[in-house]
Point group: C2
Chain length 398, copies 2
């Protein structure tokens, strides 16, 4: 059995990062179509195919002018709209009517917004002062031809897909999705289709984990429930270790019927930590056996959900090819006083509404209905005891 190594959530994440650093990027890439690339991790660098913008552009509807002519009355010698070009150069006292996105004519170095111009016969007058470059987006100001905008390891979202489209890419090279085996353990767990006795519960953890795995960019495989029996548990764990990552739920607390750690130890597992200063979720095991990383997540549903989000999700992102996945922690304003017992970082169900956060009453780590009512986790710092209404407190999206 492993020596007990207790870590804070930050230490736990650092440990996962350090141990898994070597496994990322060793996997062959695959090519997918542009829209299918959403949420995938890029396996190539994507450069700008030309300067962006390709030529200086107006960012307003109005008039392209020589700034030295301002303020004053100018003659309109032509017009240019997005997609077209004004071929001549403008001279002193001249202007060209210009639309947003249109290339700035030669000679012009400022745009006067249409809202700041009064039309006069054959021209316009304005009180705007000279301000060279105003409302002009210079050539290559956003990206220079050849510059890498999207680099290997980027998890693609809507802006990245827009960039791929911008540079003319209809497909992208991405890392394969990691396969994740999910193994719930314990005699008290029955299959979804069964009617549980009062002493039993249905296997809900496997399904929430499957959803969490998918959302984190993995392909879940739910294994049959492992009973509290050593041979069958060993057989199922060995099967799970064929995947890229194994998630066990249950079987990792101090109870004498918790066989999982024993089976893992028998299989030659290394244990990197086996307790985290986090609630829900204290008994959490991270290790490696037969070349595959695994987590022993606590069996209570809330603990399973939270430890996945804070720890296992990071491992999955690393396996997926993201070199620096971050936890999307931010802050929200408490609508009421809040207190907890310091020493553990708590991730508790809460409702986030326009920057305000309200804790949801909850009955402990098995209380799924409370988490259903929440849309976020409030993150209570292990070093602080009390917060007053109006104070900022940590928040993690659910």
């Amino acid at each position: 059995m492993p020596i007990v190594v207790t870590v804070t959530w930050e230490e736990g994440r650092a440990c996962i990062r350090d141990r898994m650093q070597t496994v990322i990027r060793s996997r062959p890439a695959e090519t997918v179509s542009l829209l299918e690339a959403d949420g995938r991790v890029l396996a190539e660098d994507v450069p700008a195919d030309r300067d962006y913008p390709a030529a200086a552009r107006s960012v307003r509807d109005g008039f392209a002018v020589r700034s030295t002519d301002l303020p004053g009355t100018l003659k309109i010698v032509g017009e240019v709209r997005a997609g077209t070009k004004f071929d001549a150069a403008i001279g002193p006292g001249e202007s060209v009517e210009i639309m947003t996105g249109a290339p700035v004519p030669a000679g012009a170095d400022q745009i006067v917004m249409v809202e700041h111009a009064q039309r006069v016969n054959g021209g316009f007058s304005t009180g705007r002062p000279a301000n060279m470059g105003e409302f002009i987006n210079p050539q290559a100001s956003e990206a220079r031809a050849g510059e890498t905008i999207l680099a290997t390891g980027k998890r693609l979202g809507f802006a990245d897909i827009a960039w791929l489209a911008t540079v003319g890419r209809s497909e992208a090279s991405v890392y394969p999705l990691p396969r994740v085996a999910i193994l719930a353990t314990g005699d008290e767990i029955v299959d979804l289709a069964e009617v549980p006795l009062d002493t039993q519960i249905r296997n809900s953890n496997a399904y929430s984990l499957a959803v969490q795995v998918r959302r984190a960019g993995g392909i879940p495989e739910i294994l049959p429930v492992a009973p509290d029996e050593i041979d069958e548990t060993r057989r199922l764990i060995q099967r799970g270790l064929q995947s890229d990552l194994l998630l066990l739920s249950g079987g990792v607390s101090a109870g004498k019927y918790d066989l999982v750690e024993q089976v893992l130890a028998d299989l030659g597992a290394e244990f990197f930590f086996d307790r985290v200063r986090v609630q829900p979720g204290q008994p959490l095991v991270f290790g490696k056996a037969q070349g595959t990383f695994f987590f022993g997540l606590p069996g209570n549903p809330a603990s399973t959900m939270v430890t996945f989000e804070v720890f296992a999700q990071l491992a999955l992102c690393l396996l997926g090819g993201e070199p620096h996945p971050a936890l999307p922690l931010s802050f929200a304003r408490l609508t009421q006083d809040f207190a907890h017992k310091p020493g553990l970082t708590r991730f508790l169900p809460a409702v986030l509404n326009c920057g305000d956060i309200t804790p949801v009453a909850w009955k402990g780590s098995s209380d799924v209905p409370s988490i259903v009512k929440a849309n976020a986790f409030l993150v209570a710092d292990a070093a602080r005891e009390t917060w007053a209404a109006g104070d900022m407190i940590g928040v993690l999206p659910k």
Copy 2:
């Protein structure tokens, strides 16, 4: 042409909510499997099938005792683990060894954690004081049989899927996904496969919008680019109005070549607002034509992305059957001083890292590379001008 109605982002969202309230929930539901229900909106109420927990459970490994016997030395008369039951009642001076999740034997009203017990011959001693109910989860404390835990209109996530599994549901009734037509407009926009002239750009907005639509629970359909020509623009808009929602990009600023509002007006459109006090994104139209709601999003890529997230995403959630979708606004701590010109709420690209936020340098509404570098939008309040390093500022996930 519409009268100019300018709104703040809060007013704009309230307007969308008010106008669309009547259209939600009028659509027939469909049944999907449990894992496919992730991200979908529930079209039924899901009650607890029994009490949760079904019987009082221990939330620790330890000993079930009568609290009146504490502190003291107790005899161990049996054991009970999760999934089993201790059939007798315990008497004075007796205890039962109990595992996390196991039902509490009759007579017992407190659990002593194994860490707080010293084993003695045939029993254990503890210094723990009486604390009735400690480490016991009472029957029905999380949910009572028949109580609705998941209600119609809930967008399902991992905890909801866990709850469906808990109550034995292998499928769920959900609202259909709204179909969203996406129409980019403007002569300067060329197809992805073409090589644009210096005066042109590829159609990137349609692809970022398609990803945003999918992430918001819609089915995108990208229409061909509408040129600056009235008949073809009308034909494509009419086609788009056959969907549940039409998203136009470009063609809604003050420029004289912006035909889109004219065509919409000719089609009998009502316009509810056509300008928002938001940057990027000021020219934004929300209306309804031929029974279908539409947005005229600004053509610049950053404006399109931001106005989708802040406004169109809400409409899509409402169409999807969610009665009260919320913008996931929170706060983060600025790593540097920040200032903007008050009057507009700004949603600017930024990097969020463990609660700290750093603005990304950007060149204006066409600057996709800046948004690629960001993982969040900083939200600068329209009523405030300056923030110091260390101040909290609004943040919206990207």
